[in-house]
């Protein structure tokens, strides 16, 4: 089957998964203005932005010959759990008839899950499946580890965009690995690449660390968040995200007893402000802000798609809460407007404020 899937962060791991299950992947292109416009045109006006972008990339992939769309479902209350059905209905009305395989939560619809699961794993045995899963899990956590190093180094690189180039190289190196042995070699090779990046020496008190929190798609996909990580890096900030693919796998796929997931811990930190899980990542957003504060971060950038239901709740709570715990938070709502000047100015001003107050505190001490 020619399978396509949503684009979120680097598509490497999803692509590998489809490939190793014996199907042909149609890797979606990184969302461009054209793709986003296609999506916006064909989605309901007040649908959330990720749904529109994914719609655009589906149309793009279908035009390139994809036959099957593979995606994860959900059981609410956030709208993301209903994307699959919505996409199918709209794509059908546009004259495309792809087959949708949506992996819903196993608890909600056991039979449906097994049926879908069998459909995509018919070419491999259970034993193989386990090793594929283990391999990809390792790969995603290796990739995330390397990316985190780059997120730190980007702030101090001497040759601009060197880190981005290294990241591209890392992805193409990992793309060629299929067995565990190669994975270890690839990681060593990439580590050397990262170590070779020339960086400036900055005294500890001048370093600025920013955490990016918010809705998972807006946080992970750089083409819709106006390359937030790179932008912050270029202003000399170390960056960490609230969502990494390997963490998502730990939270949602790995059985609870083996999982090293920190999700529960983070949610607990958010419970003081949002008592119950309200869907999406609202509670995690709040939890991460508290967590980053405890880790000694200097500021938070909160990203949300326009009209995202759960993030609107966290957005309402954030101003008072950031005062209470004492960490500056900048909320940015994202939609199809692609002009970057507005956000660049806001980020620049935000970083200036953080830098000044940090300097003042340092002098006073």
């Amino acid at each position: 089957m020619k399978i396509t899937f949503p684009y979120m962060g680097t598509p490497l791991v999803y692509k590998k998964l489809v490939e190793m299950l014996g199907h042909e992947p149609i890797t979606p292109n990184k969302p461009t203005q054209r793709i986003i416009e296609q999506g916006v045109k064909n989605s309901p006006e007040f649908a959330c932005f990720p749904m529109k972008v994914i719609m655009g990339s589906y149309i793009d992939a279908l035009e390139r010959g994809a036959e099957v769309i593979l995606s994860s479902g959900g059981n609410g209350p956030c709208r993301a759990g209903f994307y699959g059905q919505m996409h199918e209905k709209i794509l059908n009305s546009l004259g495309y008839n792809p087959k949708f395989i949506i992996l819903d939560s196993i608890h909600r619809d056991f039979k449906g899950f097994i049926k879908n699961f069998k459909m995509i794993t018919q070419n491999v045995s259970l034993c193989q499946l386990y090793s594929i899963f283990k391999f990809l899990h390792k790969m995603s956590s290796d990739l995330d580890q390397l990316e985190m190093q780059l997120q730190t180094k980007r702030a101090y690189e001497i040759n601009r965009v060197e880190c981005n180039k290294v990241w591209e190289k890392i992805q193409s190196i990992f793309d060629k690995t299929y067995i565990k042995k190669d994975l270890i070699k690839a990681k060593e090779k990439c580590q050397i690449l990262i170590d070779d990046i020339n960086i400036r020496k900055i005294p500890e008190n001048e370093k600025i660390r920013i955490g990016i929190v918010g809705e998972i798609y807006a946080v992970m996909e750089s083409s819709i968040n106006m390359k937030m990580e790179e932008l912050l890096g270029s202003f000399g900030c170390e960056v960490r995200r609230a969502h990494y693919l390997s963490h998502w796998i730990e939270d949602n796929v790995v059985p609870k007893i083996f999982s090293k997931s920190k999700d529960g811990e983070i949610c607990k930190k958010g419970q003081k402000y949002i008592e119950v899980a309200i869907g999406g990542h609202a509670q995690q957003t709040i939890g991460h802000i508290v967590d980053y504060k405890e880790q000694g971060f200097d500021g938070i950038v909160h990203l949300m798609p326009f009209a995202c239901l759960p993030e609107l709740v966290s957005q309402s709570i954030i101003p008072k809460m950031s005062n209470e715990i004492g960490i500056p938070v900048l909320t940015i709502a994202l939609d199809e407007q692609m002009g970057v000047a507005n956000n660049t100015t806001r980020i620049e001003a935000f970083i200036d404020i953080i830098r000044n107050s940090k300097e003042k505190k340092y002098r006073a001490s």
Binding site: G76, G81, F82, Q85, E88, K89
Partner: protein, 344 residues
């Protein structure tokens, strides 16, 4: 001790229940006044810019009440049926209010409603009443039982084809009138929309009255039987997971299949998330059922003319369509713009 009940969101659906509950417990309640421009402005002031209008209205009502009362009643609605939830904003409503409106923090009483069978009258969800309002378990159980009975009367009356305004009037006067209205209406419209949009006269600009003035019979989702609503959703591959949106979607399909309904008007608030999904589904399906479907988006603006024009045009279109069904070859050009259609 005074408890404030904001006249917003699910107030219109659950008011008889909560009012009776507090009355039976001998607790004085104050319901905020119907939405006005001032309340709306207060709401806008206290909420984030992008949030939907009903939430802004709710914030406004809380801000209006907060100084007058000792407690504010904001139930946290999580779920009233299996695998279904309320919109995330309802689930986080007490948290949101606590952090946006000054002075409300200690006053919130919010029982957590998380049931699987529509029966919201279970004492275990009202623990906060015992803690904060000093109510005893036995009294609470008795009051809940009476409240649930009253609420059922109210719902049954509404299901006989009365709007919530009429049903709420009946509840207030403790007497539900048996109506014998003459049917001089020519067309029937299925009006889809959440209770807090349609029955808030400021937000909906009193659309039901406007439709009635045009001699249109109005049917809304709360007049339909709940089983019919869920039954009409069984054909869907995956049912959405928002309780009231599902009621609307189910009502939408009921309207499509009901021969007596001539057209559907969907009232949605600016920025409503679930509506963006179910609205699109119904819109795509309207072709298949060959029934006119119109979406009206309401927000904090209060100009009424656009609404009047749109519903008049919609009604005219349906009236013409009905006349055309008389026989012969249908041709738009054959119908006089001034003649019989104008004098209906």
């Amino acid at each position: 001790m005074k408890v404030g009940i904001p006249r917003a969101l699910l107030h219109y659906y659950y008011y008889p229940f909560f009012k009776t509950l507090f009355d039976e417990l001998n607790i004085e309640t104050i319901v905020s006044n119907p939405t006005t421009k001032e309340i709306m402005n207060k709401g806008i002031e206290h909420s984030v810019a992008e949030i939907c209008v009903p939430m802004k209205v709710f914030s406004g009502h809380v801000a209006e009440l907060v100084d007058e009362v000792d407690y504010i009643f904001i139930p946290r609605m999580i779920s009233i049926s299996k695998y279904e939830y309320f919109c995330p904003k309802f689930m986080g409503l007490p948290d949101m209010i606590r952090y946006t409106i000054p002075g409300v923090k200690e006053k919130i009483v919010s029982p957590k409603i998380d049931v699987a069978d529509e029966n919201i009258a279970k004492a275990k969800y009202y623990g906060e009443f015992k803690k904060k309002l000093g109510v005893k378990e036995k009294e609470l159980q008795k009051a809940l039982k009476i409240a649930y009975g009253k609420w059922n009367d109210f719902r049954n009356y509404s299901k006989e084809g009365h709007t919530l305004v009429e049903a709420l009037d009946g509840f207030d006067q403790n007497h539900y009138e048996v109506s014998n209205t003459k049917n001089d209406e020519i067309i029937t419209i299925g009006l889809l929309g959440y209770v807090y949009n349609i029955y808030d006269e400021y937000v909906s600009m009193n659309i039901i009255e406007k439709l009635k003035d045009l001699k249109i019979r109005v049917v809304t989702f709360e007049m339909l039987d709940e089983h019919a609503l869920t039954k009409s959703l069984t054909d869907l591959k995956k049912v959405p997971f928002w309780t009231f949106s599902n009621k609307l979607l189910g009502a939408g399909y009921c309207f499509y299949e009901d021969e007596n309904i001539d057209g559907i008007v969907h009232i949605t608030a600016f920025g409503c998330g679930p509506d963006s999904m179910i609205g699109k589904i119904l819109e795509l399906d309207s072709d298949q059922y060959k029934k006119p479907f119109m979406t009206i988006r309401v927000d904090e603006h209060s100009g009424e003319n656009h609404l009047q024009t749109r519903i008049e045009a919609f009604a005219d279109m349906i009236k013409r369509k009905k006349i055309n069904l008389g026989g012969g070859t249908v041709n738009e050009n054959n119908i006089s713009l001034y003649g019989n259609t104008a004098c209906i």
